[in-house]
């Protein structure tokens, strides 16, 4: 009781001392700086910063960016300065002896002062939020295309992030408080804070800062969404609290007994005051830092919700590469829950619901998975949960073995002697496999062993391929008279995987690696489809890898070939060489689709919206020629072609020709941002459900240009690019009486 009432007294006195201390100004200046800078940058910037295909809330982005700008450097320095100011007011005026001769318990005084540091930090974060939002409001008024006015401010996310940022600063506050109390000068504690913050930033850059208290704010802001498993705090935030407690304990002992020696060594039993807390801390540290592997659920369950205006009755789990249906998941009132006994080998699958972009997920038998889809019709966003959470996060983060070092190794290995190459190869291989071994989510969750094994095998295969094919080939060229002998160390990779690993068959990545392997080892000719296929059939054992090679070749060939007879020939002769009927069917379907897009065929209908939100379909263009530019705001090559398209639209002003730019953007804000600045001679549309447009037109890549006749029939479904004179020639040839201005 005495402690609590004393703490209240100390708190009130400390609160009074803040008056005129400049602390609020410090908090204000620190919190206003980054939001102002970031807001100005957004205002000056000429293009949309929102290119993410998933739903991005601009308010959240604003907050997160401001927090990220603030968290890693400004915040630790600010905390250091706050603590120094709070303690300097005692050091300079002799305040310690004043407060220590008052009838107030010393720990209450110590904690009362520390509380002020926490409080001021809290004000600073509140300021940061307010100024970020004010900045957002400012952008909303000046740049409507950024979409601030359409989005809702995510207050609960902001509160969560603010809370975590404050917690992440507690460790720094505690430690700086320790130093600032025992060191009476300004420079000492400031130097420590500055050096430690810089160290933290360096450690962070190497991803090795998970324990360093000065790095905690940087880690927190780099994980703005926090725990994926619904916990309030991430492990380094817990660690920050532990650091604070340890520092407060040691700091108080030191402060109370004046010297380090007297605090912890005199009499010698006081060593316990030092060692016991450090021991407890170490234990907690190890406990909180220990990665956790989630156990398999035991039953195969896939469940979740789809938040969409679209009426969806079935969702699908599809397998690569042909989108075979693995599971049909019935959806009722936007919810689904499917328990299955089917054997599903753990692999990457696609989850597809309605017209939304399919999502890659890692899933298999005995896994439980929760999927939440949010979509407003054009933009969609997925979140996943369940025991495969770390695996899916790994996939989402798109960890691929395409580091700079690997690129270097792939492209400059000809300069290396075999032993140098092998050493380099082993080293890169280790670092890549370590990456998957050491992968942890923000929650310290580690992927399951099966996933780690699979990923490591794929990595090993890539490296093996590099040694066996690429390097072997360059060696033959440079040393035609020698035979290549790689050092035995390479066998370490060889032991971990083989080219005929049946457990990898389900992986697209495996098939891609093997395609590459066979193409290079068999010297398959890319210029001759027939020779390629025949050689593959003769040299590769029948199975999914061979099927995949042939499938890809045929698909590529029929996509490229304009001559329908030639396509027919390819399909008739080579499709039967594929062992799986399913794959055969896919190719035949593709062939049929291409046939349906021939000149004179009925053009598939589609629906699209204009900038003023009017809906258009093919019906609206009846009686006019339609020239369509299929594009998206994120597509660079499209932007190169668009001006040429617009130039033609401005040249040919016949009323019977409609020039249409049809966007397949997921993010309607980005589309709107780009489309508003385009030529008014081109009708700007965005596809309502891009799949229902792309599929029947067989569009797999953009830009794509299509010419339709006034009768609603196809004239040319695969026009050349408008940058080529042929484009204009076709228009002139096909559209009678085309005016030229």
């Amino acid at each position: 009781m005495t402690f609590i009432s004393d703490y209240k007294k100390a708190f009130k006195a400390e609160w009074l001392k803040l008056k005129g201390s400049g602390m609020f100004w410090l908090a204000l200046i620190m919190s206003v700086f980054i939001p102002v800078l970031y807001t100005l940058a957004l205002l000056i910037q000429n293009r949309s910063s929102i290119t993410n295909v998933n739903t991005v809330n601009p308010w959240k982005e604003q907050i997160v960016n401001c927090f990220q700008g603030f968290g890693s450097f400004f915040f630790p320095i600010f905390l250091t300065l706050v603590v120094i100011r709070l303690t300097q007011m005692e050091h300079r005026g002799g305040g310690w002896k004043l407060i220590e001769t008052q009838p107030v318990l010393k720990p209450a005084l110590y904690l009362g002062k520390f509380s002020m540091a926490v409080l001021v930090s809290f004000f600073c974060i509140v300021g940061l939020v307010i100024f970020s939002l004010v900045g957002g409001a400012f952008i909303m008024l000046n740049k409507p295309a950024y979409g601030f006015s359409q989005a809702i401010i995510p207050f609960s996310d902001i509160a969560g992030l603010s809370f975590r940022l404050l917690i992440s600063g507690l460790g720094i506050l505690g430690i700086q408080f320790l130093f600032s109390v025992v060191i009476s000068g300004f420079l000492g504690p400031f130097g420590i804070g500055l050096a430690a913050t810089i160290t933290g930033n360096i450690l962070n850059a190497f991803g090795k800062a998970l324990w360093w208290p000065w790095s905690a704010p940087a880690l927190t802001v780099s994980n703005p969404d926090g725990s994926a498993t619904g916990k309030y705090l991430l492990h380094y935030e817990w660690l920050s609290i532990f650091w604070m407690i340890l520092a407060l304990w040691l700091g108080y002992q030191w402060y109370q007994r004046k010297t380090f020696k007297r605090a912890f060594f005199k009499p010698f039993v006081r060593v316990a005051y030092l060692l016991v807390p450090i021991l407890v801390f170490s234990f907690l540290f190890l406990f909180i830092n220990k990665p956790v592997q989630l156990l398999a659920y035991g039953k195969t369950v896939i469940a979740g919700s789809i938040d969409s205006k679209e009426k969806i009755q079935t969702a699908y789990l599809l397998s690569e590469p042909l989108f075979d249906t693995i599971l049909e998941i019935p959806v009722d009132k936007n919810r689904f829950h499917l328990k299955t006994e089917k054997n599903i080998p753990p692999a990457v699958y696609y989850f597809k619901a309605g017209s939304m972009t399919a999502m890659r997920i890692f899933f298999g038998s005995n896994d439980s998975m929760f999927i939440n889809v949010m979509s407003d019709g054009k933009n969609s966003k997925f979140t996943t949960g369940g025991n495969r959470l770390p695996e899916n996060e790994f996939i989402k983060k798109n960890f691929q073995n395409d580091s700079y070092q690997l690129y270097y190794l792939e492209n400059f290995s000809y300069e290396m002697k075999p032993d140098v190459f092998a050493a380099e190869l082993i080293q890169q291989w280790r670092s890549e496999t370590d990456k998957i071994d050491n992968f942890k989510t923000a929650d310290k969750l580690k992927p399951a062993d099966d996933f780690i094994q699979l990923q490591k095998k794929l990595i090993s295969l890539n490296f093996l391929k590099l040694a066996d094919i690429k390097y072997a080939r360059t060696f033959r060229i440079y040393h035609p008279n020698d035979s290549l002998k790689l050092p035995a160390s390479v066998n370490e990779i060889r032991k971990s995987v083989s080219y005929n690993d049946s457990s990898l068959l389900g992986y697209l990545q495996y098939r891609e690696i093997m395609t590459d392997y066979f193409q290079q080892s068999l010297k398959l000719s890319l210029s001759n489809d027939t020779a390629y296929i025949l050689k593959a059939v003769n040299n590769i054992p029948s199975g999914s890898v061979r099927d995949y090679l042939i499938y890809n070749r045929i698909k590529e060939a029929i996509g490229r070939t304009r001559d329908s007879m030639q396509r027919e020939m390819l399909i008739l002769n080579y499709v039967p060489l594929i062992s799986k009927t399913k794959i055969q069917q896919t190719l035949i379907a593709q062939h049929e689709l291409l046939k349906s897009l021939h000149r004179g065929k009925e053009a598939p209908n589609f629906y699209a919206s204009a900038l003023n939100k009017d809906t258009f379909s093919l019906e609206n263009f009846k009686g006019r020629y339609v020239v369509i530019d299929v594009w998206a705001s994120w597509c660079g090559p499209c932007k190169v072609q668009s001006p040429n398209f617009e130039r033609l639209a401005e040249q040919f002003t016949n009323t019977n020709v409609a020039f249409v730019a049809l966007s397949v953007d997921d993010n309607s804000w980005s589309w709107r941002f780009e489309a508003t600045e385009k030529s008014f001679r081109v009708l700007q549309l965005i596809a309502n459900g891009k799949e229902s447009f792309l599929k029947p037109y067989g569009i797999e890549t953009i830009p794509r240009f299509i010419l339709l006749g006034p009768d609603g029939k196809i004239i040319n479904a695969q026009m050349p690019y408008p940058s080529e004179p042929e484009f204009e020639d076709i228009l002139k040839r096909e559209i009678p009486g085309l005016n030229i201005y």
Binding site: G20, G93, T101, Q102
Partner: protein, 306 residues
């Protein structure tokens, strides 16, 4: 325990050794009577401030040998400060706060009514400067504010380290009168350290003298004077002393002639001065001046100068 038998401050064999072994307080056993003004006198570096820091708990002291009103200091920190007001060395002030807010800090730490702040401002004469930041204060104003902060809780025991520091003569007199008033009218015990004998003599009822860490004397002023024979010597100067030297030394056997040819007379009591003067004048000795020797100061200087 009967309060009348208890000292306001009592130490038994207080010791303090700095790093590197310099003993700054050596077996100091202070006994500060209740309701006294105790002057703690000593030259700079004698150990006064260290002693004060020990009896206010500012310096860690292993043995349990400091008692405030009979209660162990060690066992009663911080509750014991409830009835103590302290001013140690330079006043402890928050430079970025106003004078008034500095006082309010104390009221908050002691859970007191803030009305007291205005009373104290009046006592130390800072009403007109209460709003100004302390960093703009003069040395004297800071000293007075520091005094105010010690007085604020209306403590029954005041411990003041060199309270006259930085004050102008008028301020010194003011402080002196205030302390005497606090002692006489409100019965406060006041412990003052000083290196100025005159100051202590004019204010204190009791005094302790410390030199090189050792307590040389403690008691009332009267006891001290008795001890060292205060007021029992006169120095008499004559014109042409060489002529009268033999005459005087023969007539008054207790007289010693100094090298300056002054004559020092030992007295039995103060009235003897008149008699000696009369005898000298009657004998035709041309007396130029008669000075009563201030033995206390001489003793003090002599004691503290080596």
């Amino acid at each position: 325990m009967n309060l009348t038998n208890t000292y306001a401050i009592e130490t038994s064999g207080l010791n303090y050794t700095f790093k590197y072994g310099r003993k700054v307080v050596n077996e100091v056993s202070l006994q500060v009577p209740d309701q006294s003004i105790f002057g703690f006198l000593g030259p700079n570096g004698a150990g006064k401030t260290t002693t004060i820091r020990l009896i206010t708990g500012m310096l860690e002291n292993e043995p349990d040998n400091i008692f405030i009103r009979g209660k162990s200091l060690k066992k009663n920190i911080p509750g014991i400060f409830e009835s103590m007001g302290t001013l140690i060395e330079t006043p402890s002030l928050y430079l970025h706060l106003s004078g008034r807010d500095n006082l309010r800090v104390i009221t908050r730490l002691r859970n007191m009514n803030e009305i007291r702040v205005e009373e104290v401002l009046e006592i130390v004469g800072l009403q007109n400067d209460a709003k100004r930041k302390v960093k703009e204060y003069s040395l004297g104003m800071k000293q007075r504010l520091g005094m105010g902060m010690a007085l604020l809780p209306d403590p029954s025991l005041l411990i003041l380290d060199e309270p006259a520091n930085g004050l102008d003569p008028a301020g010194i007199i003011e402080v002196r009168e205030m302390l005497i008033r606090l002692n006489r009218e409100y019965g406060k015990t006041i412990f003052i350290s000083s290196h100025l004998l005159g100051e202590v003599e004019k204010t204190c009822t009791h005094l302790g003298i410390i030199h090189k860490g050792v307590l040389k004397f403690q008691g009332t002023l009267a006891e001290l004077q008795k001890d060292i024979g205060h007021g029992k010597q006169v120095t008499i100067k004559t014109t042409n002393p060489m002529q009268w030297k033999n005459f005087i030394t023969e007539k008054f056997p207790d007289v010693t002639a100094t090298v300056n040819n002054e004559f020092i007379f030992q007295l039995q009591d103060a009235d003897e001065v008149t008699r000696i003067n009369q005898q000298l004048v009657e004998a035709g000795v041309p007396v130029k001046s008669i000075r009563l020797n201030e033995g206390l100061e001489e003793w003090f200087i002599k004691m503290t100068s080596n």
